[in-house]
């Protein structure tokens, strides 16, 4: 925040600005941003739906044809095998082991749902599943031909010569591919709509914060100062939409300032003509009426810390890797029994790298900020791009850990600068919640569009561009290291609530969904991350100023319930619980972040959030013993932490804690 004229104000009319309405918490700006985001999401969602209706049918029809081709190939292959067997003298209806053979074939061809073998009269001889079900649905068919020189007589053939059909094989194409494509497209549409809504909403809020809300406060303060005879704050007016008012004030004041200068000149002339005490006394009496006016004072210096977009954009790119890390680590060693340990190792190490980056940034706070930000972001970019060629999970883990260290250091070298965390609560919400919401959706959609490796490479390119942009967006002024003000220090209840919410959210989204449940289904991952991210804005928008432990409890309880209920519900075909848990986990995190306000925006908060991520990653190793144990343990631990947070808050409120 800029520093105004430090001298004490003189007496004059004072109007107190309602901070809740006119600074970063402007209700009007919140509503406009939310409305813009909602309408954008609606437009994009509607456009996606219409595009699916209008443009997709021919494409999906091609896919169905391809599925039928696969089924036809399988049917032909089975028919050829059966023809050879018949050629060896085995009657079609008396073959043994056909069921096992069909099972083996289905194992080779998961794109086929079922195979049936019919005789010449279309009677069902063998089937991998209910033959009627196969016959009633669209299927591919291949004739079983009598071997060359055979008649097919014994098979119900007509004996009308070589190559007669003695039966047929029907194969039904699996609908899994079509269903999977539709599911991915629907999830992509929803995720893209959410992402567009969040991006536009955030952009509108940033614009209003930096160009309207803050300049309004400054200009109003300037006008009040002018009402008291102070015309010096013009030089501190920031860019934005308010300069017309500041310019108008400057023009209105100019004649008064000119008169004041003429008075000064006149005083000098009078003193030059007669410097007697009597004249001096009369001059002094006349000038007494001007006491308290400040009409000509040097202009103050505006402290420019850069707009909030750079750390928000950088953190968004870093957060975009969240859905990719767990499943990338898993796939490096495939079905190895230690795959879960590899996932735990990657998530934990990457988060530790992020924590170390924050700590180093907090220690250096501002020193060499510009070169350090540039170099660190560039190294993060190189590390992300390098993932494109990495095959070994250990190298992958080391690389993403290094990238997280560099990236978080770069971001926090900007955020830790003076003034970066004072515009409450939207600065924190935009950077922290905005990046956490938009980043994973971008990462998930990139992976869905171009594959995981290429997504990492793309994020590397984006990080490199941001490294270059940091020369404009990172703070320009040398910053000095200052202790965290008492008002920004976290209480034990705050820390415990942050730990509970972040542990629950990381365990649910980053580890369980990304590493296990939705492995390779990136659009659905993006949607779940996006739902959690969008929900985290709800407390900010609706002004739900609940205690931080309540947020921890909401997130932990949601994930605890989700750990038990979601698999059971999915088993009976209910899919809505998974996104519901994502929403509630994000909501809990949002409650904590909004309750903390500026305190969610200090390095210690970032470290607490990171520790939650480390715990979530480490606990996943329990999945090696029992699948799902990691999530259950994390949810239980998060609930316990939230309970401790409540206890700490109650203890503090009752004055028992010192």
């Amino acid at each position: 925040m800029q520093s105004f004229d430090p001298r004490p104000p003189v007496a004059g009319p004072r109007v107190t600005l309602r901070r809740g309405r006119y600074v970063s918490g402007s209700v009007a700006s919140d509503r406009i941003a939310a409305l813009a985001g909602l309408l954008t999401a609606l437009f994009v969602g509607l456009a996606s739906y219409v595009a699916v209706i209008v443009a997709m049918p021919p494409v999906l029809a091609d896919l169905d044809v391809k599925s039928s081709d696969v089924a036809a190939t399988v049917a032909q292959s089975v028919a050829a095998d059966l023809s050879r067997a018949v050629g060896l003298g085995i009657p079609l209806g008396a073959m043994r082991g056909v069921d096992d053979y069909l099972s083996e074939i289905l194992g080779f061809a998961p794109e086929v749902d079922g195979i049936a073998i019919l005789d010449r009269q279309e009677r069902l001889l063998f089937s991998s599943r209910s033959g009627d079900a196969l016959l009633d649905r669209p299927h591919a068919r291949a004739p079983i031909m009598a071997p060359a020189g055979g008649t097919g007589e014994g098979e119900g053939g007509t004996g009308d010569g070589e190559g007669a059909a003695i039966g047929s094989v029907i194969a039904q194409a699996s609908s899994a591919t079509h269903a999977g494509v539709m599911r991915a497209i629907a999830a992509s549409a929803a995720a893209v709509a959410l992402l567009a809504g969040i991006l536009v909403g955030l952009a509108v809020r940033i614009v209003r914060l930096e160009r309207v809300d803050l300049p309004t406060v400054r200009t109003a303060a300037m006008l009040h100062a002018a009402a008291r005879g102070h015309f010096v704050i013009r030089g501190l007016t920031p860019a934005g939409v308010l300069p017309p008012v500041a310019d108008a004030l400057a023009r209105a004041v100019t004649p008064i300032q000119l008169t004041y200068r003429r008075i000064q000149a006149l005083v000098e002339e009078i003193k030059a003509v007669d410097g007697s005490a009597a004249v001096r006394q009369r001059v002094g009496d006349a000038l007494g009426a001007l006491e308290g006016l400040r009409l000509e004072t040097r202009r103050g210096r505006l402290r420019h810390i850069g707009l909030v977009w750079w750390p928000a954009a950088a953190l968004t790119v870093i957060a975009a890797t969240r859905p990719l890390i767990a499943n990338f680590a898993y796939d490096r060693i495939g079905n190895d029994p230690f795959a879960e340990v590899a996932v735990a190792f990657a998530v934990t190490a990457e988060t530790i790298g992020a924590i170390l980056g924050v700590i180093l940034a907090a220690l250096l706070a501002g020193r060499w900020s510009k070169p350090a930000t540039f170099a660190a972001m560039l190294m993060a970019a190189a590390a992300y791009a390098a993932v494109y060629v990495i095959r070994d999970y250990r190298v992958f883990t080391a690389t993403v850990t290094f990238a997280a260290f560099c990236g978080w250091f770069a971001v926090w070298s900007v955020l830790a600068t003076e003034g970066a965390g004072r515009r409450l609560p939207w600065r924190g919400a935009i950077v922290l919640l905005g990046a956490a919401a938009a980043g994973p959706m971008i990462g998930g959609l990139l992976a869905e569009a171009e594959g995981r490796r290429a997504a990492f490479a793309t994020l590397g390119v984006l990080a490199a561009l941001l490294a270059v942009a940091s020369t404009a967006g990172a703070p320009r002024l040398p910053q000095r290291r200052r202790p965290v003000p008492p008002a920004l220090r976290l209480s034990p209840a705050d820390v415990l609530a942050l730990l509970a919410a972040s542990l629950a959210l990381f365990a649910w989204a980053d580890v369980s969904l990304a590493g296990t449940v939705l492995r390779e289904r990136y659009a659905e991952m993006a949607l779940n991350f996006g739902l959690a991210g969008a929900a985290s804005f709800v407390p900010v928008l609706l002004r739900w100023r609940l205690p931080a432990p309540a947020g921890g409890l909401v997130a932990a309880a949601a994930v605890l319930a989700g750990a038990g209920l979601v698999p059971a519900a999915a088993a009976v075909g209910v899919d809505v619980l998974q996104p519901a848990v994502s929403v509630l986990a994000g909501l809990g995190f949002g409650i904590v972040a909004f309750a903390l306000g500026a305190r969610a925006f200090v390095p210690s908060s970032a470290i607490a959030i990171g520790v939650g991520g480390v715990a979530a990653g480490a606990l996943h190793a329990a999945d090696m013993v029992q699948p799902g144990a990691g999530l259950a343990l994390a949810a239980i631990a998060a609930t316990a932490l939230a309970g401790l947070a409540v206890l700490a808050a109650v203890t503090h409120a009752l004055g028992w804690a010192r």
Binding site: F43, A51, V70, T73, S77, A189, V204, A220, V241
Partner: protein, 248 residues
């Protein structure tokens, strides 16, 4: 970012998002398409492999099998997407092929690398072709070589091959979403500056706004009132000093 930037953002983000959705959808379909093609080819490859392995059960060395050419020819004839089918020795030399010129030649390095790094089925991509390979094992589980089928890369739904179709099909949707975004931007960014300009005009004219709008209007009215007082004080002082100057 000013009004123009905000307007552009409101118009561009929905269009980019809709394009992004089409891109993701196109890739989802292309990957599914390529997956089905690959599954079909892999099934075909498995069939060839099983048939050759049945011949290996006779105990003859791979290079001396008589039926392999026929098996390969039959497989290629049954699948129009397959350009050629080969049987490769453990030393990386082509033993049998539907492309007679390849027999006796070492396999391309891409195939050798893919086969060396994979324990099961492998895939090697070259500029115009994609090769699927599967190891051949004898009854004792010992590897005898590989079967490979070569297909045209275009048959495997290359990236963005569907994008043009989808964009042309959804062109009107893109235009509509751009218009909607622009309209939204106009609504959001049109009102902001009007009252600021009105406030500025009132300050310039030193005419209070009645009733004042918001904190800025109240502050502007206070400033206008305060400036009047200040001006009166300054002019009074100027008059007093001029009178004094005249006396001197």
């Amino acid at each position: 970012m000013g009004r123009t930037g905000g307007l552009l953002l409101c118009a561009i983000v929905p269009v980019l998002a809709a394009l992004g959705f089409l891109l993701v959808s196109a890739r989802v379909v292309e990957r599914a398409d390529a997956g089905l093609s690959a599954a079909e080819l892999e099934f075909l490859l498995s069939g060839i492999t099983r048939t050759v392995e049945l011949n290996l059960q006779l105990g003859l060395p791979l290079a001396e099998l008589q039926q392999v050419d026929t098996i390969l020819e039959s497989a290629v004839a049954s699948a129009p997407d397959v350009l050629a089918a080969d049987v490769i020795s453990l030393t990386g030399v082509t033993l049998f092929s539907t492309d007679r010129g390849a027999v006796g030649e070492p396999v391309p390095p891409a195939w050798a690398d893919a086969a060396a790094t994979s324990r099961g089925m492998w895939r090697a991509s070259e500029r115009e072709t994609v090769t699927f390979g599967e190891p051949l094992s004898n009854d004792f589980g010992q590897r005898e070589g590989w079967v490979a089928i070569i297909v045209d890369a275009e048959r495997l739904a290359p990236p963005l091959s569907r994008m043009g179709t989808l964009i042309s099909g959804a062109a009107l949707v893109l235009v509509a979403v751009a218009a909607a975004g622009l309209g939204l931007g106009l609504v959001i960014y049109s009102r902001t500056n009007r009252w600021i300009a009105a406030t500025g005009a009132s300050v310039r004219a030193r005419a209070p706004i009645e009733p004042p709008r918001g904190a800025l209007g109240i502050a502007a009215n206070a400033a206008i009132s305060g400036m009047g007082d200040t001006e009166a004080r300054v002019e009074r002082v100027q008059r007093d000093l001029r009178r004094l100057d005249a006396e001197l």
